[in-house]
């Protein structure tokens, strides 16, 4: 029986299908992007999830069932693909993993890099196993996605972020070679994710204008993102593209890359995004993951959600209430519940003026 959450009238799948058709829905879609917070829900350490598909699925499914949000995202950290290509990852006992060392330290070694094999390399098999289990358990009622790091960002993990920042000027051909091998790996992993019954969820933080200029983004990231998205589209899947930090000058490019939904963080003005690209693409995000979701009160969360819906609730291609980035692990459950509750209170259609946030 696919009932969805006890407080909702529709399942996420029903809601998202109806929303896309322009039909009646009970509330706006809502995705507090739960990553390693899922470990807290089943009472395990963060490090236990990373290479254990069964446990990762259990945590993510339990989190979905507890909060009733509209998208499961199998994710532990940004580095699983780069790790599967030789990067080393530091895994603290109970915190999110981080890059220990890039795969190579010299451009001369780029030729030795090979695209990862999702069936055998690093944690990829376990992330795919988590994906299959989640799809089997709740895939009929909620879309299951699996995080996939974009080619340029993955390339930066292969040789080091600071090194790639220099190479874009000093050895552009090397950057293209790194992006090409990353694209090939991303395409293979995307295919495996789709075979597992899910959709890749793209995340590409190094493409942010907080790091590289729009000009360099168009040169080194956009072409590879576009090819990756084309590939995913060929399987009939819709693509969400998340880029953190400042993105206002590349929103149009993100749309041109083919994204069906762009997920944006809190360092931009959502109203600007609605004006600039809201007629071409669905928007998602903008609730501050740190100051509001981690450190704020449920009342702060409620206010932030209302402010976002005031700005984007009427966007032509739709809006998904969401955190601006993956939630910090220790985000209080009460704040995640508050996000969903606020969206339920607002209801649908979003009546302008009825709930509008003032000040």
């Amino acid at each position: 029986m696919e009932t969805g959450h006890m407080h909702d009238k529709m399942t996420p799948v029903e809601r998202l299908e109806a929303y896309a058709r322009g039909g009646a829905i009970d509330r706006l879609p809502c995705v507090p992007i739960v990553g390693n917070t899922a470990a807290r829900i089943i009472g395990v350490k963060v490090s236990e999830l990373r290479n254990n598909g069964r446990l990762l699925a259990e945590a993510q499914v339990a989190s979905y069932r507890l909060f009733g949000y509209d998208n499961i995202r199998v994710f532990t950290d940004l580095y699983v693909l780069a790790e599967a290509m030789g990067a080393s990852v530091t895994v603290p006992d109970d915190e999110t993993a981080y890059l220990g060392a890039p795969a190579i330290d010299d451009v001369a070694r780029i030729r030795q890099l090979e695209p990862a094999d999702p069936a055998s390399d690093g944690c990829l098999p376990e992330h795919l196993e988590a994906t299959r289990i989640a799809v089997r358990e709740v895939g009929l009622e909620v879309p299951v996605t699996t995080a996939l790091t974009g080619p340029f960002t993955n390339a930066s993990f292969l040789i080091g972020a600071e090194e790639i920042a220099r190479l874009v000027y000093k050895e552009p051909a090397a950057v293209h070679a790194l992006c090409s091998v990353s694209l090939e790996a991303a395409v293979r992993y995307a295919e495996a994710i789709i075979d597992a019954g899910a959709t890749p969820s793209l995340t590409d933080p190094m493409s942010s204008s907080t790091v590289i200029s729009p000009v360099l983004f168009r040169r080194f990231s956009l072409p590879y993102l576009k090819r990756l998205i084309d590939h995913i589209h060929a399987s009939g899947k819709k693509v969400t593209l998340h880029i953190c930090g400042k993105t206002n000058r590349i929103w149009r490019d993100m749309v041109d890359a083919g994204a069906d939904c762009i997920s944006i963080d809190n360092r931009i003005d959502l109203a600007d995004a609605v004006r600039e690209v809201g007629d071409r693409v669905r928007l998602m995000g903008n609730v501050d993951p740190t100051e509001i979701m981690l450190e704020g009160s449920p009342a702060d969360v409620r206010r932030a959600v209302r402010a976002c819906v005031t700005k984007a609730g009427q966007a032509q291609k739709g809006y998904v209430v969401a955190s601006g980035c993956s939630l910090p692990t220790e985000t209080p459950f009460a704040n995640i519940h508050a996000m969903l509750d606020a969206v339920r209170e607002i209801g649908f259609p979003v009546a302008k003026g009825r709930f509008q946030e003032r000040g």
Binding site: T90, Y98, G100, Y169, K170, V211, L216, L294, P328
Partner: protein, 233 residues
């Protein structure tokens, strides 16, 4: 001095000014080869090295920092500008007299334990060095106690801590607590920055300041030091 000599002096000063401007421009243009060529000209013509650094290399790097704040330049541009600046500095520094390098304010900088994202820290380091501070870089994944130990050892004026990860933010608070415990808090200013950090967070943990980017970090560091001086008076 007769008229001819005066003219010659004027011309020489004009040439020097042009050379400093060219150095500055070459840094902004990310042209490392040109910087090296111009730095050699400085040495060959026995031009004041301190001035060449101040009015040429540092001037250019400050302009690059300004462009960064204006979102004309981004991380790659700032890094490549700094490579050009440091290439020039490496050539000129051996010709500096000791006194010119003396009495600089000291900053201990690092990425807090649990994080290895160090581009932001490196940019702040570059801009603080450009701004005339003496930097002690602890690198990344630095335990809170190490910041305090180093600050004591070098008699630092400022500790600058960076992170990109929310999981590590408690470590920043720990540095402040350790300084208090070791009775160093009134001698050392603490400044924080990085993706998830905000002014509010800085205030909550009792840090002296927050900067949103590398350019702002220099202004913050200067104002804290100046504020201290004003207070001392």
């Amino acid at each position: 001095m007769n008229k001819t000599n005066e003219k010659r002096e004027d011309a020489k000063m004009g040439d020097e000014r042009q050379l400093f401007q060219d150095l500055s421009d070459a840094v902004v243009a990310m042209d490392e080869d040109r910087v090296v060529e111009l730095a050699r000209t400085v040495i060959e013509n026995k031009i004041d090295v301190y001035e060449a650094i101040e009015k040429g290399l540092s001037h250019g790097m400050e302009r690059a920092g300004q462009l960064f704040e204006e979102e004309e330049y981004f991380v790659p541009e700032l890094l490549v500008c700094s490579d050009a600046m440091y290439a020039g500095l490496d050539l000129l520094r051996p010709y500096l007299t000791q006194s010119a390098e003396g009495s600089k304010r000291k900053v201990v900088i690092g990425v807090i334990e649990g994080d290895t994202h160090d581009i932001g820290k490196n940019l702040v380091k570059i801009m603080l060095e450009t701004g005339g501070f003496d930097l002690h870089d602890l690198g990344r994944d630095v335990p809170p106690a190490r910041f305090v130990q180093k600050a004591r050892e070098v008699e630092a004026d400022i500790i600058a801590i960076s992170t990109l990860m929310t999981t590590t933010m408690d470590g920043m608070a720990e540095v402040v607590k350790l300084l208090e415990k070791e009775r160093l808090r009134d001698r050392v200013k603490v400044i924080v920055g990085g993706g998830p950090i905000s002014q509010g967070f800085a205030a909550r943990i009792g840090a002296d300041g927050y900067a949103a980017n590398a350019g702002a970090a220099v202004n913050l560091a200067r104002s804290l030091i100046d504020g201290d001086r004003a207070h001392a008076r």
